[in-house]
Amino acid sequence: MTVSQTSFGSHEPVLEIKDLTVKYRGDTRSTTAVDRVSFSIGVGEIFGLAGESGCGKSTIANAIMRLLRDPAEISGGSIRFGGKDVLAMRPEELRRFRWQDVAMVFQSAMNSLNPVMTIGDQIVDIYTTHAGYTRKESLRRAAELLELVRIDPARLKSYPHQLSGGMRQRAVIAMAVALKPSLLILDEPTTALDVVVQQEIMAQIKELQRELGFSVLFITHDMSLMVELSHRMAVMYGGRIVETAKAKDIHAAPLHPYTQALMGAFPPLTGPRVPLTGLADGVKFSNIADLQEVSPAHFVSPLPALQGAQP
């Protein structure tokens, strides 16, 4: 936490997304999953993207990695990484970009390890393929990598099923930072884990971030977790960002009713018990307007457009 605050926002952006629009095309009609979304992430900054299932947050992550396949299609906007246009990259550029510049940890990534290969072989694979190291050198580095996430290097010889869920997730995170990317995308990295393990993984990510200085795009629906970890965050609803500000500001004073409902869904662990209200079933927001700055660095979609916000 401490580091992040000093490095926050003072640098040029690593990732800049402008008016990104992603559509899923059907035979008769198409659905806009991400609608004119803009945000940027600074060097060493942890940026959180919050929202519920179906709000488009994972689609954004996949769009950044250029992983979208038919019928999804980026129909507008730009994604720039370190000044380069990601959407214009050729296949070989993309290949380098994908693990060396930006790495991604997927939801339940611990199940994405190859069950018939040892952890060591899978890490060695990364080094020999992407960095061109010899097998011996790769093994040495793989051992270092596991130590970085506090796994005994003897585990290099283990198969994924021999590790616990938390250890597997840590191994996947280690693999993601193997080539020292400048941006790490974490898509619900702890959703399937128990709270104690979750806390350990998040502490691990913070520590790695402090050591290696990468930026993080952190995607989750758990607002408590997000506010604790992120410097700046955006709340998404129906493919649009409804509010973005410093995480502390959103926690202290959420302005959009949807943000308030999300915050209200996580009762505090301290203080008196106060009645909370979530979003009533079936309430929909439509025609979400563009963001407006209401106080320094705090942007909210203006309220008049919140039709149907009454339960």
């Binding site: 709270v195 662990l269 979530g278 009533a280």
Partner: protein
């Protein structure tokens, strides 16, 4: 291991309560569940529940918290009679239902205790309209009455759970997850139960509607006096909804107490570990990582809290006794050898721990020792 099946009345507070509200709505005594493990001829077994005692008073919401594998769902399945306990008693209004209906739950039991499951997408048959689920419940339990009465009752049920009566004609797929969970609750309510057993009722729902379901459950308790056992891994929601929280670890209840007090002054290392791990931006100052590491070592590295007979290890040699924590009004107790009551506070080892059986005598040493330190 000697599992005292006899009652473990948590002393003064409960006696006082008994005079107020009579017998608890639901009581579990010394519930043990062993799962067979290994091959067909193997006699090995895994102990999932090691003698659980839990009482829920009338109109009380008790939360059962713990991580995956702690045995909380096994306890729920035993109480719901989906699993046959190895030993112990389940009492509803003082009647041991395991003795009364030995093989499966009777309709009478079901009419007193209803379940709400985790997955509202799986618990409603997709080929039926909402009306079907509620009508079936009412008919099975002989509460349907005349068509007019039935119609009125259906409308009433829908309104109670915050849905509109016209949704009776909908199919489950037409409803959102939150609405479906409300239907599941209405179905449970149809038989007018005394106790509702809710196993992670909100964990599959979108976060913004979760609190609505919790509010509905509280409202049912407040208005209809229904007792609830709320099983969850989410401490924050347990604190929000429940009057009391019971913490389960390795198949045993290790700590129990009034919700706010328990989370403010967790006494068991496992509870403290859980509390410290919950993200809470409002918490001032984060936990010291060294303290966390020590806690984790204390809790996780002993594979269980159960006394597996290893005399070398204090934690496994003898059964821990219950210690009262803080003000007796909070009914807060902890079972742990590591617990040392603060010298100033009025904490004692609870003398009510029934260790009448002579083979439990080694425990007496530790008990006197603990008392001495109190």
């Amino acid at each position: 291991m000697s599992t005292p099946v006899s009652a473990r009345p948590a002393p003064a507070a409960k006696e006082q309560d008994l005079t107020q509200t009579g017998a608890p709505a639901l009581e579990v005594k010394g519930l043990v569940k062993d799962f067979h493990s290994g091959g067909l001829f193997s006699r090995a077994s895994v102990r999932a529940l090691g003698g659980v005692d839990l009482a829920i008073r009338k109109g009380e919401i008790v939360a059962l918290v713990g991580e995956s594998g702690s045995g909380k769902s096994t306890l729920a399945r035993c109480i719901a009679r989906l699993e046959k306990p190895t030993a112990g008693q389940i009492l509803i209004d003082g009647t041991d239902v395991l003795k009364r209906d030995r093989f499966q739950a009777s309709r009478e039991y079901r009419s007193r205790l209803q379940m709400v499951f985790q997955d509202p997408f799986g618990s409603l048959n997709p080929v039926h309209r909402i009306e079907h689920f509620l009508t079936r419940s009412l008919t099975l339990h002989g509460k349907a009455g005349t068509p007019d009465q039935l119609r009125r009752r259906l409308d009433e049920l829908m309104t109670t759970v915050g849905l509109t009566p016209d949704m009776l004609n909908s199919y489950p797929h037409e409803l959102s997850g939150g609405q479906r969970q409300r239907v599941a609750i209405a179905r449970a309510l149809a038989v007018e139960p005394e106790v509702i057993l809710a196993d992670e009722p909100t964990s599959m729902l979108d976060v913004s509607v979760r609190i609505g379901i919790l509010n509905l459950m509280r409202q049912l308790r407040d208005k209809q006096g229904i007792s609830m056992l709320y099983i969850t891994h989410d401490l924050a929601s347990a604190r929000y909804l429940a009057d009391r929280i019971a913490v389960m670890f390795a198949g045993e209840l290790v700590e129990e107490g009034e919700s706010l007090d328990l989370l403010a002054n967790p006494a068991h290392p496992y509870t403290r570990l859980l509390v410290s791990a919950v993200p809470d931006p409002a918490r001032t100052g984060s936990y010291d990582p060294h303290e966390r590491a020590a806690l984790r070592a204390a809790v996780m590295e002993s594979a269980s809290c159960a006394f597996d007979g290893d005399a070398e290890q204090r934690c496994s040699a003898t059964e821990p006794v219950r210690h009262r924590v803080g003000d007796p009004a909070n009914e807060h107790w902890v079972r742990c050898h590591l617990y040392r009551p603060p010298a100033t506070a009025a904490s004692h080892a609870l003398s009510a721990e029934p260790l009448e059986s002579p083979d439990a005598s080694p425990t007496d040493d530790s008990r006197t020792e603990n008392k001495a330190s109190a």
